[in-house]
């Protein structure tokens, strides 16, 4: 093989090695929110106290929360 052949072969190898960088894949794993894997929980109004009445539960909670404001009680 003459010098010219050797040079073109070398250039081809360098080009091939250089191009390997272009094929790099992203290394960062994309985050995905996990999904709950445990047992299902019941709603707080699904019990003998509220008998499935969501509105009654919400009203009870609202009254209880408002009861924390002592200004409502003292004035």
């Amino acid at each position: 093989m003459n010098t010219r052949g050797l040079m073109s072969m070398l250039a081809a190898v360098v080009l091939a090695v250089g191009l390997t960088g272009c094929g790099e894949q992203p290394q960062v794993v994309s985050y995905e929110q996990g999904k709950y894997q445990g047992k299902a929980d019941s709603q707080p109004w699904d019990n003998p106290v509220f008998k499935g009445d969501k509105a009654a539960w919400e009203l009870a909670m609202k009254n209880r929360t408002r009861g924390q404001n002592e200004y409502n009680r003292t004035q």
Partner: protein
């Protein structure tokens, strides 16, 4: 119902630890675990301030994001709960939580020895039958299902610790601050409490 939140008024907290005791008693929390703690800044220095801290039931909870077994879920009102049957006690949630809420009954010890994670449930029990022995043994009392607020807030003698729908709690706090005429100058006040909120707002 909007989002369930705690709010601790540092101007009112007297560091009595009544909330801590109420929580321990209500939920029969195991030795070594404090679901709620009172933190004091500048203890002993005039002007010291105390805050009652537990799980803040974050809207975008980091514990949920890092759990490798996906044992966390959001119950009604955004209360962050977890299934102890799935918990492997890895402690990732402990490192992720900015409030130090996740606790381990056998900690501090190596992974596998710590036991199942335990934290504040907003007195909402867990994924077992409501009011059952199993629910009480694993997660404690389910006061929310009885139409009650968490024991810590209801026990607070100075009403420094408030719990409930975030909009209603904000309204109470706003009313308080306006009456005492101090605190309005705090950075971010107008954003957080400036306008009256509608109860149940998301």
């Amino acid at each position: 119902m909007g989002r369930m939140k705690f709010l601790c008024d540092a101007e009112r907290c007297i560091e009595c630890n009544g909330c801590v005791t109420a929580c321990k008693n209500e939920n029969e929390v195991p030795w070594g675990v404090n679901r709620r703690r009172v933190v004091t800044i500048n203890d002993g220095v005039p002007g010291e301030r105390s805050m009652s801290v537990a799980c803040m039931h974050c809207s975008d909870a980091p514990c949920m994001a890092v759990c490798p077994t996906n044992c966390f879920y959001k119950a009604e009102g955004g209360v962050v709960l977890h299934d102890k049957d799935l918990c492997i006690g890895c402690g990732y949630c402990f490192y992720a939580c900015p409030f130090g809420a996740p606790q381990f009954p056998n900690g501090p010890s190596a992974f596998g020895e710590r036991g199942k994670m335990d934290k504040c449930t907003f007195c909402a029990g867990g994924p077992e039958e409501t009011g059952s022995k199993e629910e009480y043994a694993k997660y404690g009392s389910n006061r929310l299902a009885e139409g009650k607020l968490p024991a810590c807030a209801e026990m607070c003698s100075t009403k420094a610790l408030l719990a409930g729908d975030s909009a209603a709690v904000s309204d109470i706090f706003r009313d308080r601050v306006l009456r005492r005429g101090k605190g309005l100058e705090a950075w971010g006040w107008m954003t957080a409490y400036g306008a009256e909120q509608k109860e149940g707002a998301k």
